[in-house]
């Protein structure tokens, strides 16, 4: 694997790679030489460069695009043109047309695209997806997703996450996790959204740390999503999912789990190990024994919904998802 973009999430991928046999870090690209070198130093034999083109060189099977979102589409398309598989960090792009370019390039190259919707690989969500597939609740019709965490992005006011031009805005770049999860679990596509932001850290933030999204799906199902980064203690989590179907209701709350309460918070077991699980899945995809869990139509639907939610939060009105398509 070659990683392009040597930020925090790239480091998580590299750490996960170390625990998954059959795939290894070969190369790191970053425009800052010292960051590229520091990340490459974590894996024996890994090289580094500041030249993006080296991220899809002959010695590479899969390019992991871990840059900030505004460059996702161009880099992914270039990797596909070079015949590489792509692990693409979320959000896939900042415009639906760009996501379409990526999906078209993947199709043309006949190489797999896995979008790093890591929430899907959290143990509880894999289990809930299996329960839904097993018909435990019939057809899902109403979802209520609550994700609270204590997390302030690194970099202070320099963090790219605070720059909507680079991140797409918080509702887009993190809301896509929740919207992708629901798109997958409900097996349906959002058609109308309303998002309301909440700035809990500082009133002058250019993009909110917290927000809520109401969702209507094509089949009529409804969802409430509440995502907040502002728990008082950094590293703490409150995770809850209620999924009601035609014959039953699924409910998980991290508050019901045995938890470690320590000076250095430990994530709940229900969401632990997702990155390693995603990496194992990627290896299986590269080995040709699994299809990417993020199906192309879901990649597009989740991104479109997230971009529509961002527009809704920006303008204070409900938005039809097709408006951003």
């Amino acid at each position: 694997m070659a990683v392009i973009g040597a930020g925090a999430i790239a480091r998580d991928h590299v750490t996960a790679l170390a625990g998954v046999p059959g795939v290894r870090l070969a190369h790191v690209v970053d425009r800052h030489p010292e960051r590229a070198a520091a990340l490459a130093a974590l894996a024996e034999g890994a090289t580094w460069s500041t030249d993006p083109a080296t991220a899809w060189s002959d010695a590479v099977d899969v390019t992991a695009v871990c840059t900030s979102p505004e460059s996702h589409a161009d880099l992914s398309v270039a990797a596909f043109v070079a015949g590489k598989a792509v692990l693409l960090e979320k959000p896939a792009a900042l415009r639906v047309a760009d996501a379409d370019r990526v999906l078209a390039a993947a199709k043309k190259a006949a190489r797999p695209l896995l979008v790093a919707q890591t929430a899907r690989f959290q143990p509880v969500h894999l289990d809930i997806a299996q329960a839904v597939a097993d018909g435990v609740i019939g057809t899902p019709r109403l979802a209520h997703l609550t994700w609270y965490t204590g997390h302030v992005w690194p970099g202070g006011w320099r963090g790219w996450q605070l720059d909507a031009a680079r991140s797409g805005g918080h509702v887009a770049h993190n809301g896509v996790h929740a919207l992708d999860l629901l798109t997958w679990l409900m097996d349906d596509e959002p058609v109308r959204v309303f998002a309301r932001p909440c700035r809990t850290w500082a009133p002058g933030m250019p993009t909110p740390d917290s927000f809520q999204i109401l969702v209507r799906f094509a089949g009529g199902a409804l969802a409430t999503v509440e995502l907040c980064y502002a728990l008082a203690a950094r590293g703490t989590f409150v995770r809850r999912l209620m999924l009601s179907g035609t014959t039953g209701t699924l409910h998980h709350s991290s508050e019901d789990e045995p938890r470690a309460h320590t000076a250095q918070p430990v994530a709940p077991a229900s969401i632990e190990g997702a990155m390693a699980e995603q990496t194992r899945h990627l290896r299986d995809v590269l080995d040709g024994v699994a299809e990417p869990l993020t199906a192309p139509h879901q990649v597009r639907a989740a991104l479109a919904a997230a971009l529509a939610a961002q527009l809704s939060a920006d303008e204070g009105r409900p938005v039809d998802v097709k408006e951003v398509c």
């Binding site: 809520q212 409804l222 409430t224 728990l231 209620m242």
Partner: protein, 483 residues
């Protein structure tokens, strides 16, 4: 305390046995109006519980407290009647099915020597605890509240007497948002102490279909709704209400709340804490610590209300709280009807209609100009319609009275009635009435906020309708940060 059941249609079969367990409380009988559509329900209640069936006036004359248990659309009128008879009143939830009725109830409570409260769950131990935590300052200032209220089945007669009592708008006033929205609306108000300024809702009422296979679809009402609220001071909230085939917890109604604050958060689950018991047969039962929260809340509600009467205290939920909760639900239904268009809940203002501004459009335009500071809005329909478009971002509002009236009905949820009164128009509204336009303008845009005047350089909260491009991005429905 002598309690009269006024119309034994909803919940009375549960309340009567509970009331009988309370010391110092006597249920003296059940009564209904002579023209009640459900007189047989009261008779059946009397028969099954062994309480006498009384004439309404006779019953009101001999009770201390009237407990109104009719179908929801008669709640307010029966409660007003009992208040006018000088009785103390507990009205079942929702206290009213629209803000006009809630206003009548409020007025009657103001005039009556009797105290008024309504059935609520704010005495539920976990909600009371969350309020104590908020009040202690432990979580800092509340910033966001997330409330979920789910009923599990129950339309087979187990928790709802007959399905139409929550599904037929003529009896229920709406679907499950009307039926349950009351609870989270009151809880959010109780926990934050803030007014709701804007409601956005998606629901499963017509033209959308119900989420689940219940009778709601036949009546066109919602079996589920998701709401986003903006409260004062930038505080936000969500509400998720539904009647689902299965619940979250073991109780007929599962409810949970999350309050995020600037310095911490508090979670409340009405099914918790509980003790799990597993029998040798493998069956698992959850025993709630302190008993089922719903029962605890009701018992305390009646006990506290008796003490309110005895000791001259103000009930925890007053007519103003009821009005506010009804206004949130009403706004939610209106927004859901418009597929998520933001709606401002109705708010009470003193003597607005007597001020002379609601009779003609020129006056409305002048008012808009004065309050909104929007100079080019003049006395013609085009301009008011343009203003409506700009403020509410309702794209198809065009320059004719038909559309402006539709706008008034849609955004404010109002339809015109004779004599300057107006009513909720969630389902239908006639067009072409100046008075309604005027009333909606007054209600939506200004008279109740006379201090919200525009000043140069200060965000007025309104969007400029002049078409002039001023500071920042100019978009319909968005504050332009200008005068």
């Amino acid at each position: 305390m002598r309690i009269l059941i006024v119309s034994g249609v909803r919940h009375a079969r549960d309340y009567v046995p509970l009331l009988r367990t309370l010391p110092g409380v006597e249920v003296i009988g059940c009564a209904d109006t002579a023209d009640s559509p459900f007189a047989e329900d009261s008779a059946a209640l009397a028969a099954t519980t062994g309480i006498p069936l009384l004439d309404l006036d006779e019953g009101l004359a001999s009770c201390d407290i009237a407990l109104v248990c009719s179908e929801p659309t008669r709640h307010a009128d029966l409660a007003v009647r009992a208040l006018e008879a000088g009785r103390h009143v507990v009205v079942d939830k929702p206290a009213a099915t629209d803000t006009r009725a809630a206003e009548r109830l409020w007025d009657a409570a103001d005039r009556s020597p009797g105290l008024l409260t309504a059935v609520h769950r704010l005495y539920s131990p976990q909600i009371a605890r969350a309020r104590r935590v908020v009040d202690s300052g432990a979580i800092g200032l509340p910033l966001a509240v997330d409330a979920e209220w789910l009923a599990a089945g129950g339309l087979d007669g187990s928790t709802v007497e007959r399905p139409e009592l929550v599904c037929d708008p003529a009896l229920s006033g709406g679907g499950e948002l009307m039926n349950f929205g009351w609870y989270p609306a009151l809880a959010i108000r109780h926990l934050t102490g803030l007014e709701v300024e804007e409601v956005v809702a998606f629901g499963s009422g017509a033209p959308h279909g119900p989420l689940f296979d219940g009778p709601h679809g036949a009546h066109g009402v919602e079996d589920a709704a998701v709401l986003s609220l903006r409260l004062r001071n930038g505080v936000v909230a969500t509400v998720t209400v539904a009647r689902t085939p299965a619940g979250v917890g073991p109780a007929p109604v599962s409810s949970s709340l999350r309050v995020l604050g600037s310095h911490g958060h508090v979670l409340a689950d009405e099914d918790a804490p509980s003790v799990a018991v597993r029998g040798a047969d493998g069956e698992r039962v959850s025993r709630q610590v302190g008993g089922p929260a719903g029962l605890t809340a009701l018992r305390r509600l009646f006990t506290e209300f008796c003490d309110d009467i005895r000791y001259g205290r103000t009930p925890l939920v007053t007519a103003a709280d009821m009005y506010a909760a009804v206004a949130v639900v009403e706004a939610g239904l209106a927004s859901a009807h418009l597929d998520g268009t933001p709606v401002t809940p109705a708010a009470r203002t003193a003597n607005v209609y007597g001020s002379g501004v609601c009779g003609d459009l020129d006056a409305v335009a002048a008012l808009v100009a004065a309050v909104g500071g929007l100079v080019p809005v003049v006395g013609d329909f085009e301009a008011v319609a343009a203003f409506a478009t700009a403020v509410a971002g309702l794209a198809p509002v065009v320059g004719d009275l038909h559309a402006v009236t539709a706008f008034a009905a849609a955004v404010a949820g109002l339809e015109p009635c004779e004599g300057g009164a107006w009513t909720c128009a969630c389902h239908a509204f006639p067009y072409g009435r100046r008075r309604a336009v005027a009333a909606a303008c007054v209600r939506q845009w200004g008279v109740r906020r006379p201090r919200r005047s525009c000043r140069p350089g200060r965000c007025c909260g309104w969007t400029c309708a002049s078409g002039r491009r001023l500071r920042g991005r100019h978009r319909p429905g968005r504050c332009c940060s200008s005068t």
